[in-house]
């Protein structure tokens, strides 16, 4: 009995070692296995659906399937840990959002550095942030809201999906630009937050385009502003931040990240795929149905933008009092 166990253990460990010493792959042979695309949010959410959308158009441009693997939890830590501990061979990627890539590092202790350990490969879509008020609200335009907020600083309440949500930070940036202060009422999730405002319990809502859509269509919410440079398709009558003179062109991007030490040749192949996928008609149609804005941004362009974004996010996080927990 004991002999059998010893032999078993020995052979298992030999197999383990031999498998691990496979040489690095030639870029020409890439891809030769399915690729995993993780997300920091639960299955069925917009991140997962975006991964799946990429996966469903990938076969046209990529010889291997791309599988969506949601790894929610720990404000992105679970998914990022998974990425860090995977091999830098171009078979594991992460579809990141500002929430875990830009905001979380300032709030949670993370055992890795964003710049140091990860590299963007390409952005495929983004969600726009909009600010709305309850339909019965006395504020008909964003200027009304700003004027009212100036009179009573820190009095007017707004609802958001979580205290560290990207939508909240977008609103805080806007308030900073407009010189006003609103009081936060956090909820657990975008739907409860939207319901609270649609039901008239909280005056202001910050959310994505799609989170406010059904309520706006029903006439329970009035959308006052979109954080974009151009008018958003779903809300053609709503002015943009740019038109009103505010520098809040902050989209909630969907960008694919990889381990920084992945071979550049492989990364550029994947970036190619992402570009084709993002411009694919079927992908565009799916994203539009979800209320997202498809569009490709190259790795280099995104990297430049990302560095700037992290700077001002760090400032806002400090201002709002959310910096690293004890």
């Amino acid at each position: 009995m004991k002999e059998i166990i010893k032999i078993l253990v020995l052979s298992l460990s030999l197999l383990e070692f031999s498998a691990g010493s496979l040489a690095a792959e030639e870029p020409d042979k890439y891809p030769s296995r399915p690729v995993t695309l993780t997300g920091a949010f639960a299955a069925g959410g917009s991140t997962d659906l975006t991964c799946r959308a990429v996966g469903s158009v990938a076969p046209k441009y990529f010889s291997q399937p791309i599988v969506s693997m949601p790894k929610p939890g720990g404000a992105g830590l679970v998914a990022l840990q998974n990425l860090i501990s995977s091999k830098p061979d171009g078979y594991t990627y992460h579809l990141g959002r500002p929430s875990e890539m830009s905001i979380a590092p300032f709030i949670e202790k993370m055992p890795f550095g964003m710049e140091k350990d990860f590299i963007p490969v390409g952005q495929v879509a983004q969600d726009r942030i909009v600010f709305s008020v309850h339909a019965q609200s006395p504020w008909k335009t964003i200027d009304d809201l700003i004027a009212a907020a100036r009179k009573e600083p820190d009095k007017i309440k707004f609802a958001c999906s979580s205290p560290t949500a990207t939508t909240r930070l977008g609103l805080e940036k806007f308030c900073h630009e407009a010189g006003i202060k609103l009081a936060v009422v956090p909820f657990k999730g975008a739907a409860p937050a939207a319901i609270a405002v649609a039901g008239g319990h909280v005056p202001v809502l910050t959310s994505t385009v799609s989170e406010a859509l059904t309520h706006a269509q029903r006439g329970d919410l009035r959308v006052l502003l979109t954080c974009a440079d151009q008018r958003v398709k779903e809300y053609p009558d709503v002015p943009t931040a740019k038109e009103k003179g505010f520098d809040v062109n902050f989209g909630i991007w969907c960008t694919v990240f990889a381990r920084k030490d992945t071979p550049p040749a492989i990364l550029s192949k994947f970036e190619d795929l992402l570009k084709k996928a993002a411009e694919d008609k079927e992908f565009v149609a799916t994203m539009t149905k979800l209320g997202s804005e498809p569009g490709f941004v190259s790795a280099r362009e995104f990297a430049g933008y990302w560095a700037k974004e992290r700077k001002w996010i760090g400032e806002i996080v400090r201002q709002v009092g959310l910096s690293k927990s004890p």
């Binding site: 639960a42 299955a43 069925g44 959410g45 917009s46 659906l49 799946r52 469903s56 693997m69 949601p70 790894k71 929610p72 939890g73 720990g74 404000a75 830590l77 679970v78 840990q81 709030i107 949670e108 309440k157 979580s162 205290p163 560290t164 009081a183 936060v184 009422v185 956090p186 909820f187 657990k188 739907a191 409860p192 939207a194 319901i195 609270a196 649609a198 039901g199 008239g200 319990h201 909280v202 799609s210 859509l213 059904t214 309520h215 269509q217 029903r218 329970d220 799916t286 149905k289 979800l290 209320g291 959310l322 927990s325 004890p326």
Partner: protein
């Protein structure tokens, strides 16, 4: 509205061969997944969602609804047979259902669960049909103060869940509140009791908790009794409920249906809470409350009906307002949007095919599930004759896999094992786990609602009483808390004259 012709239109859509097949397939897959401990409706839908992507919208939704209902039906099977709840909504069924199984009445228990689920499911769909827009608007009127009051009401139900020592039941509730606090604080993001484990930032998952506390602990307890002996002693007497059991179950089923339906509409409440509330209500109105916890069929009929009715009710906010009332609905919302359907008040007019097709499929699905589940009862009962020594590794295995696949986190597996040990020790020391679960579910919701309300009211607690809905609920709560005292006073009054006469 000409409901008759609309429903016929809906049925014509469902009876297309593809849709018929998909409805059945959904129910079947849902049942199978629901039977597996730990994999409830949310996991089932999340896992099977990709397969529906390439279907037409109506077909996809029909399949998903079938899965949802199937999972709810399946969850009660393991609760009754092996005391391991399939998901949170079936926890309550273990209390009396398993006792019935141990007395050889597994058949009637399963039968009543199936029939009750069918009746409740059908009734709630009728409600959905006629009342959708009206009730959905009502749901919007519930803001944070209303939820606070509702949660207070919910917690008083605890008192009725206790079958043993009240002090110990309340201790479990307090423990449940504490466990519910684990995680990142919702307002300030401060980490509470996370012991440095990042995955705990999101709090303890309901599935590892329930499976560990009920499932694993059950196995641990059974191992030591006598592994050789079969768990179900005696012959299985009947496979179906007898007339008396039917009579006893009628009112619980009806009450459970109404209760579940209403609770399902409220975002956040859902099937689990509906089942808890139904149990408490049945115990309260029963002429023999002591029987609860010993195998009272009302304790199975009511909650099982309630959780299925809540399923139907939870569709209302989704279809009429586009608001998901629980996590399953959220996934369905995503599925709808992927197929280009934006739920909202216009859904019924713009996509009548979709709405009525789905409603018709729900009727059909419930019938299919009844037909599916009844013969299976015989099969399950036979399965239990397998010697425990062979059975228990499999049960544990499924619990482990269930916990892992539900969230893909190894931490959940360890949590489940930890709670398994804790559950075992709690039972040895004669504490009940049900109040813990209730407090665990309601506590965080209560705290969130309280803090949100206080921000809105800028610190004034008056908000809970001055708002009509919230105030009413609180008054009812206080009355409920005081009501146990009333019968005592009455009894005293009755006793005295009798004594005098003698």
């Amino acid at each position: 509205m000409d409901y008759y012709s609309l429903i016929l239109q809906g049925f014509s859509i469902v009876f297309q061969p593809t849709n018929l097949f998909l409805c059945f397939l959904g129910c079947l897959m849902g049942t199978l997944v629901g039977v597996l401990p730990g994999l409830g409706p949310t996991a089932a839908i999340a896992l099977l969602l990709p397969t529906t992507f390439h279907f037409a919208p109506v077909s996809a939704i029909i399949t998903l609804c079938g899965i949802y209902y199937g999972a709810m039906y399946g969850g009660s099977t393991t609760s009754i047979l092996v005391n391991i709840p399939g998901e949170a909504a079936s926890v309550i069924t273990t209390l009396d259902g398993y006792k019935m199984a141990q007395d050889g009445r597994a058949g009637p228990a399963l039968g009543i669960a199936a029939f009750g689920s069918y009746i409740a499911g059908t009734l709630s769909i009728v409600g959905l049909m006629f009342l959708a827009p009206l009730l959905a608007r009502g749901a919007l009127a519930f803001g944070p103060p209303e939820y606070f009051s509702l949660m207070c009401l919910g917690l008083t139900i605890l008192i009725y869940l206790a079958s043993g020592s009240m002090i110990k039941a309340l201790m479990m509730a307090a423990l449940g509140l504490i466990i519910g606090c684990i995680g990142a604080d919702m307002l300030t993001n401060v980490h509470r009791f996370t012991l440095g484990i990042p995955e705990l930032m999101d709090g303890v998952g309901l599935i590892p908790l329930v499976m560990g506390l009920f499932g694993i602990s059950e196995v641990l307890l059974n191992i030591e009794i006598q592994v050789k002996q079969e768990i179900l002693k005696g012959k299985i007497k009947n496979l179906l409920p007898n007339l008396q059991e039917w009579k006893d179950s009628t009112m619980p089923i009806l009450r459970g249906s109404l209760l579940g339906f209403l609770l399902g509409i409220l975002p956040g409440a859902g099937p689990a809470i509906a089942s808890f509330v139904s149990y408490a209500v049945e115990k309260r109105v029963s002429r023999h409350p002591k029987k609860f916890g010993q195998g009272a069929i009302e304790g199975v009929a009511g909650p099982e009906s309630a959780n299925n009715a809540a399923t139907g009710g939870s569709f209302i906010p989704l279809f009429s307002l586009g608001i998901p009332s629980n996590s399953v609905m959220a996934i369905l919302l995503g599925a709808l949007m992927i197929h280009g359907v934006v739920p909202g008040p216009n859904l019924v007019q713009q996509n009548p095919d979709l709405f009525w097709g789905v409603v018709a499929s729900m009727y059909l699905g419930n019938i299919m599930l009844l037909v599916l589940n009844l013969p299976l009862i015989g099969l399950w009962v036979k399965l239990l004759k397998v010697p425990y020594a062979i059975l228990f590794p499999l049960i544990l295995l499924f619990c482990l896999i269930g916990a892992y696949t539900a969230s893909n986190k190894i931490v959940d597996v360890y949590l489940m094992i930890f709670f398994g040990l804790m559950g075992y020790l709690l039972r040895k020391y004669r504490y009940e786990a049900a109040p813990l679960i209730l407090a665990f579910v309601l506590g965080p919701m209560l705290e969130d609602a309280m803090r949100q309300s206080l921000i809105i009211s800028e610190g004034s607690p008056k908000i809970f009483f001055t708002r009509p809905i919230s105030g009413t609920i609180l008054v009812v709560t206080i009355l409920l808390l005081l009501s146990p005292l009333l019968p005592k006073i009455q009894k005293k009054r009755q006793v005295l004259p009798l004594d005098k006469e003698n």
